[in-house]
């Protein structure tokens, strides 16, 4: 039985592995190869010269990278603070209401990200849902809330909300009630229970949630374009420009590789520290 388990396991992994090899691993290899080509070439038949990596510092692309990482970090921290009370309530306090919130949040995931962001443009712009009604009813008028850095972070918080919420709920529900009860019986204060029971025991959920939001936020494009009106240029934007208007594939590839290395090492580090079987509820 053990042997057949091994064989079937291997065979069932084949289809998706083939798909991912052909359309995930192979493209990344191509990007890696292009990134060492001389500037502005469109084939791989050139002598590699790594010059595209030098441009990162000489032409200030590192600033875009820092903006991306900074806004993603801010969004991650904010999301943790916003999601924790709700996730706690969903795991430990709400009963039927948890299902309602889950369904309501999942449904928003099925609405195209740019339609939702466009909705915020209509809500926050001058003459939009908020400003327009305030002006008509109360007589308040202001210049809309769009096209700055905080609104980009706001957009990230909005779009990646479910990616923080659900892992947190999963993490917190892994904290046994007995452990919290025991801590309380032994005289721990609420704050102590939070720091010494809840946080460490729900760490896998926190790691996954923070990682997802940070990684997706660092590579995000639509938030800064639609809401931020390019108040700052994020790295994904630079990459897109290098490929499209710039017609400089090696530059775009080099920028992508740098982003991939930062994000990838974080993702691999985080994922390797978490026991997937345990989080997803393996039985035996």
């Amino acid at each position: 039985m053990e042997r057949s388990d091994r064989k079937i396991g291997f065979l069932s992994a084949v289809p998706i592995t083939v798909i991912l090899m052909l359309s995930f691993t192979a493209p990344l290899l191509v990007v890696l190869l292009f990134s060492v080509m001389p500037p502005k070439v469109f084939t791989l038949a050139h002598v590699p010269d790594f010059s595209s990596y030098g441009v990162l510092f000489s032409q200030g692309y590192y600033r875009s990278l820092l903006w991306s990482l900074g806004t993603a970090l801010a969004a991650t921290v904010l999301l943790f603070l916003i999601c924790w009370p709700l996730a706690f309530a969903m795991a430990k306090v709400f009963k039927g209401f948890t299902l309602f919130i889950t369904v309501a949040v999942v449904i928003t995931l099925f609405v195209s990200e740019n339609i939702r962001l466009f909705g915020w443009v209509l809500t926050l712009m001058k003459g939009g849902l908020i400003e327009g009604h305030l002006r008509a009813w109360v007589g308040w008028s202001f210049e809309g809330a769009l096209y700055n850095v905080p609104v980009i972070i706001f957009g990230l918080v909005y779009v990646y909300f479910p990616f923080m919420l659900f892992p947190l709920v999963q993490g917190i529900s892994m904290v046994p009630d007995d452990a919290r009860q025991a801590a309380a019986d032994l005289g721990a204060t609420r704050r102590q229970i939070f720091w010494e029971v809840d946080l460490p025991l729900s760490a896998p959920g926190i790691v996954i949630g923070s990682l997802l939001t940070f990684v997706l936020g660092a590579g995000a494009l639509a938030e800064s374009k639609l809401l931020g009106g390019q108040a700052v240029i994020v790295i994904a934007d630079e990459i897109e420009t290098a490929f499209t208007y710039g017609q400089n594939w090696p530059l775009g590839s080099a920028l992508s590789i740098i982003l991939i290395i930062i994000i990838g090492s974080l993702a691999v580090f985080g994922v390797s520290r978490v026991d997937l079987d345990k989080i997803m509820g393996r039985r035996r």
Partner: protein, 270 residues
């Protein structure tokens, strides 16, 4: 640890507020889609449904709908099949490279989609494929088939391996076990994975952006219009796209509910 009444009420209120916050932008889009004026300002003075008629008549919109539908349809079918086997390898069987495999499945989900789209564009170019909507199917699969795998894996984790072992002990072949035991047990997971796949592909924008070539999907077209300036068709087509998803969800839930209540009735008779 008891939670006080006041805290409890505050938490419920907080939940309601968060949901309201999530749906507020959709409310704006909804209002904008029924505004009569060509240039939108709130509060809306006159309501009209004319833009819906215009959108449905437009050949461009019909083309977009058809492209999005074809991509989502094919992605759904492939994801369900691939995800079914992937989930077995992910959750059910003990085999040598399971740990590595689990991480390989997770990586594409953690990957910035716009960059992935560009990488695919270069890959297609270097092997001589001209991108059109079929290459977008491949792009969507990279991201959606791992998600389908995870959705089915959750189901695969929760079923008792003893059921399969019992069937095998009674002499069923691997194929029969798969068809008669594992398949039916995982079916709810496969169906929800299919639903997820369709809806995620239908709404996806960053992967389509670089991989559809001359063709265009609904979210892509919307994005192009949003960036180039306001058009009253944008909120209208946006709402049409959302409505399609919602109708599909409602149909799926209704079928689920009917099947479940029919089965419960059947169980009672036996």
């Amino acid at each position: 640890m008891r939670i006080g009444r006041a805290t409890r009420i505050a938490l419920y209120l907080y939940g309601v507020l968060v949901i309201a916050f999530l749906y507020l932008p959709l409310l704006s889009v909804g209002f904008a889609s029924v505004s009569k004026a060509r240039y939108l300002t709130f509060p809306i003075k006159r309501y009209a449904f004319q833009w819906y008629g215009k959108a449905l008549e437009s050949y461009t919109v019909q083309d977009l709908l058809w492209t999005s539908l074809s991509i989502a349809g094919i992605v759904t079918v492939i994801s369900m099949i691939v995800g079914f086997f992937g989930a077995l390898a992910f959750a059910r069987y003990q085999w040598r490279f399971r740990g590595v495999f689990q991480k390989l499945i997770l990586l594409p989900i953690f990957f910035p989609q716009a960059v992935l789209g560009l990488a695919l564009l270069m890959w297609f170019n270097s092997i001589g494929i001209i991108p059109d909507w079929k290459t977008a199917v491949v792009a969507h699969l990279v991201w959606i088939s791992p998600i389908a795998t995870l959705v089915i894996a959750i189901r695969a984790y929760s079923f008792d391996p003893a059921l399969e072992e019992a069937a095998r002990d009674m002499g069923a072949s691997t194929w029969v076990v798969l068809k008669e035991v594992t398949g039916p047990l995982l079916m709810p997971g496969v169906i929800s994975a299919g639903l997820f796949s369709f809806l995620l592909s239908w709404g996806n924008f960053p992967l389509s952006l670089f991989t559809t070539g001359a063709d265009s999907t609904l979210p892509e077209w919307l994005y192009a219009k949003m960036v180039s300036g306001y058009s009253p068709l944008v909120p209208t087509v946006g709402i049409l796209s959302i409505a399609t998803s919602m109708i599909l969800l409602i149909v799926a839930f209704t079928i689920y509910w009917f099947v479940r209540s029919a089965r419960e009735r059947g169980a009672r008779i036996i």
